[in-house]
């Protein structure tokens, strides 16, 4: 991790410590700092904007219920990503919803411009559409690693797969994204 992300993580850990100690203000600050990632990750998982908005609040409620499970020695964002994934899984199981590409519309909170390999590619909408068409597991790994800077180990522990599988998913996702953007011309 870079110095900047180390500092950001230290700040999140301090806020999480305050939250576990019962400080609602700390929760407020934690909420504002993690909301973009939660929305972006949910958006990458569901590809359905209305579902994303429905699930965001549920993520924070689950976070509150599960706040004991946060280990202060570990980074905060993978823990929150794990809860986000849990909420998504529960929603999928509850509603038996399946992703359909025609409703694909990624949430604006995913900053696709940060993916360096995609510099100069199409406009933001085209990127969002292409990302929505990549397979679910690849999109998840790609977004966590390339957009939110998770290490492959953190991606693996969030998605419940091996580190090698996380690396392959992100790599294949990037290849698929590029293929979508170039219309198969690579």
């Amino acid at each position: 991790m870079t110095d900047t992300s180390d500092a950001a993580d230290a700040e999140l850990r301090a806020l999480m410590g305050g939250y576990q100690a019962g400080d609602v203000e700390a929760f407020d600050a934690l909420y504002s700092r993690t909301l973009p990632m939660v929305r972006g990750y949910l958006s990458a998982l569901t590809v359905d904007r209305s579902a994303t908005h429905d699930l965001v609040q549920e993520v924070y409620l689950q976070m509150h219920r599960a706040r004991r499970t946060y280990d202060p020695a570990r980074p905060v964002r993978p823990w929150i990503a794990g809860i986000t994934r849990h909420v998504w899984l529960m929603a999928v199981r509850s509603y038996r919803r399946r992703r359909s590409p025609e409703v694909a519309a990624l949430d604006e909170s995913i900053d696709l411009a940060v993916i360096p390999d995609l510099d100069g590619f199409a406009d933001r909408d085209a990127l969002a559409r292409a990302l929505a068409l990549t397979p679910d597991d690849q999109r998840e790994a790609l977004v966590l690693h390339h957009v939110y800077g998770f290490t492959f180990r953190e991606v693996a522990h969030t998605a419940g797969c091996s580190e090698g599988a996380a690396r392959i998913r992100a790599s294949r996702g990037m290849a698929e994204l590029r293929r979508q953007l170039t219309g198969g011309r690579t």
Binding site: G22, F27, R39, P78, G82
Partner: protein, 218 residues
């Protein structure tokens, strides 16, 4: 959506509700060791030590059971990691540990059979099977419940998987105790009754995880 938490959400959260972070899965898994020791003490106090213990020797008897308990603790650690968001082990690593655990039991069975060949008379086989199948299950249930309680403190995305692993850990711990009493080393008996009990506990855990998931903190 603004950068601040909505009031409706904050209202759902109780101010001043301090919580103590859970210990790490590795540290909590250690609790399986005293539970397994209690099961061992129960077996030894109630039924006694196996008749062929001198032929089997301390290495194949005590050390093997202790190693099996250590394996159960390791499995419990993997199981508890399942309940911590962002710490989920991969399915492959779960599978490797589970297969290693069953292989260990098979290996110990063969090692015991090599030094003390004891068989069940054909007429008694069903009765021996029933005893060695049901009693380890009963003895393992408290360990499974203990692990279940610890799992419920977390957030389970894969409750059936976590339950199956918890059952496997409980089965290993109870079998480590039961083999101190059961003097039948015939692999067909051990694999059918003892390993059958371990796998049944695993299936029980899996079913419990599947049906109880709606009642968990998730």
């Amino acid at each position: 959506m603004t950068g601040r938490a909505p009031d409706s959400l904050k209202a759902a959260l109780i101010a001043g509700d301090r919580v103590r972070p859970l210990s790490s899965p590795a540290r909590r898994a250690i609790w399986i060791a005293p539970a397994a020791a209690a099961v061992m003490a129960t077996v030894l106090a109630w039924w006694g030590l196996r008749a062929d213990h001198t032929a089997v020797g301390p290495g194949r008897l005590w050390l093997a059971s202790l190693l099996q308990v250590a394996l159960a603790v390791m499995l419990a650690r993997f199981t508890l990691s399942e309940s911590i968001p962002g710490q989920h082990p991969s399915l492959r690593s779960h599978l490797v540990v589970a297969i290693a655990a069953v292989l260990f039991v098979v290996l110990v069975t063969e090692a015991t059979f090599a030094v003390s060949r004891t068989f069940v008379p054909a007429a008694w086989a069903p009765r021996f099977f029933w005893i060695c199948f049901t009693r380890p299950i009963v003895l393992g249930l408290p360990v499974l419940i203990l692990l279940g309680v610890m799992l419920r403190h977390g957030l389970l995305s894969r409750p059936a998987l976590a339950g199956a692993l918890a059952g496997l850990a409980a089965g290993l711990a109870s079998d480590a105790a039961w083999r101190l009493y059961c003097h039948v080393s015939d692999p067909s008996h051990v694999l059918a009754a003892h390993v059958g009990a371990i796998l049944s506990l695993s299936a029980t855990g899996m079913l419990a995880g599947y049906f109880l998931r709606n009642g968990s903190t998730s």
